[in-house]
Symmetry: C2
Subunit: 340 residues, 2 copies
């Protein structure tokens, strides 16, 4: 049987109340006594029964998710996963609230974060907008004791406790290698469709993509990036125009708005053998993968990201360790054969 507080009390030769004071860092314990108790804890290998503690405390974990108000499939999916998590709240003792902020608007995000420090959530998960002022509030909140994890898009250089999202540089590099290998000996130009170069994850994907392309596939030239603002209409327009260039042999779509990309490909490129790599598995990209319009899809699993963020925040709130390997968000690579 695992030891209980009673065993610790007996082993340390003190009363239950004293053990409790040490465990919960309450005042009124002499230094030597505290040491005795801590020794007993270590020697018996005592670990607090979190379930029993939560029961006694009637504890719930009030968590806040902050998301950009973007109208694309991925963000809708992320939202849906958060709603699922809210449905599971009773069983998980969580109390989750989702807040939408205008996309790409550091000031708005800062405002929301500052408002949060008043209501006392025990954890914050946020899709970070990459700006110095955001970094500053995040660091302040972390110092104030709030567990914070970034979701989907990281805030490197800040003190956030954890990042629940894929390595976007690796994603871009992987896309480049897949595209390069799929094209084999063919020479030509590559069109890149992004959402916006103002977003960190898109910048990182592009960075990874161009570096592998330059290092390993010199016969493939990257055309100037098309910024589709994650909007299907704009994406369609840009891609349709770009496909006028007969030298294009491949396309890398690293953002959202793939509906427009797919439409453009079907209108303008049915007779050409283009190799296309896109991000994010949605109903549209899935169908396009199956009908060979797209050759591979890179994906991050929003459900895993949300569940991981929750696990990490709860663990941080309790001062517990997380299983690192479990919380690593993997880059999914889907060909038409391994679709879920």
């Amino acid at each position: 049987m695992r030891p209980t507080v009673h065993d610790i009390a007996a082993a340390a030769g003190v009363s239950l109340a004293t053990v409790d004071r040490v465990l919960n860092q309450r005042p009124g314990v002499r230094h030597v006594t505290r040491e005795k108790v801590e020794t007993a804890i270590r020697e018996l290998g005592y670990v607090r029964d979190v379930a029993a503690a939560n029961l006694a405390k009637g504890r719930t974990y009030p968590l806040v998710f902050i998301l950009p108000a973007s109208d694309n499939s991925f963000m809708h999916g992320l939202n849906a996963e958060i709603r699922q998590a809210i449905l599971r709240s009773p069983a998980e003792r969580t109390d989750i609230r989702a807040i939408e902020v205008p996309a790409f608007d550091p000031a708005a995000l800062v405002g929301v974060l500052e408002g949060l420090s008043r209501e006392k959530p025990c954890g914050i998960a946020m899709v970070a907008t990459d700006a110095p002022e955001v970094r500053a509030v995040v660091d302040r909140l972390v110092h104030a004791g709030f567990p914070i994890v970034t979701l989907v898009s990281d805030l490197t250089g800040s003190l956030r406790h954890h990042y629940a999202g894929v390595d976007n540089i690796a994603a871009g590099r992987t896309a480049a290698r897949l595209l390069g290998r799929f094209l084999g000996p063919r020479k030509g130009k590559i069109a890149v469709l992004a959402g916006s170069m103002l977003v960190r994850d898109h910048r990182e994907r592009l960075e990874g993509f161009t570096s592998v392309m330059a290092e390993e596939f010199p016969d493939l030239a990257i055309l100037p990036v098309l910024e589709g603002r994650d909007d299907p209409e704009i994406a369609h327009m840009l891609v349709a125009k770009a496909l006028g260039n007969a030298d294009i042999v491949g396309v890398y779509s690293l953002g959202a708005g793939n509906r427009g990309l797919i439409r453009a490909l079907k209108e303008k490129a049915v007779d050409r053998t283009l190799t296309v790599i896109a991000h994010e598995l949605t109903a549209h990209t899935r169908a396009a993968l199956i009908d060979n319009t797209i050759d591979a899809i890179l994906n991050q699993n929003a459900g895993h990201e949300v569940r991981s963020a929750i696990r990490v925040l709860k663990a941080k709130a309790d001062g517990l360790a997380v299983i690192e390997a479990q919380e690593r968000i993997r880059l999914d690579i889907f060909l038409k054969d391994n679709l879920p």
Copy 2:
């Protein structure tokens, strides 16, 4: 606040004891009364607080893992993950025992399973050996009320509750498409290295591989399968010999023993541009991927498989639902750019 048993008792107009009798399926409740209680449970949306219940019961989950005594990196990794899970046991209220059985030996497996029905574990996870007699015991145990999940290798056609492993047909198909696409217009022969055609997962991978090859890459011919028995030495010998064939342009290694494969490739194929796809990320395959000896690695994450099996068994033991999407074991595809 979520409703408690007290609320149910009040709402149904019965006593706490009666609610308890209904909840825990104890006898001595009239049919109509039971209905009243069940209605109240439904209307208030009561869900039993599993943490509190486990505390009261002093419940632990005795789980048994049955693994083949195979001496390869993957099984060692799986074993290590189970040991990790055992270390987490106190916090998770599990009591995990691992049993090794001779590999590919249905009779031995059946023996162990029958022994288990005497000691009463609340769940069994097993790497299944695919044989009718195994299916029969599994079905019998399931009927007797034991939750059973298969691990890594499934037992289709049996009544096992869940399979914690990858879709091996999809894995084989994916390998074929990667290989085919990487080779592009090249024609030639493909060598396939397997462990044994007696193992279901290897058979399935081969099945998926050959079907996509036949359908979509008719210029690539698959040579007779090399059975390396997951042994590095045998694998080395077989591959070294096979590489005498100058028509070989690609290799698919769908089992273990990749150490031997890699050695053979480095000795015999430095000057050739072979495309190689292998299964299972180990120290050896990882290094080979980085130095371009291998072009892609397909992997199943043993840690995820073990944790998933535990979650599913606990849920089944409690009669609770699992998050399906969370328990799907994904096929990892690693290029040198997205290694963890």
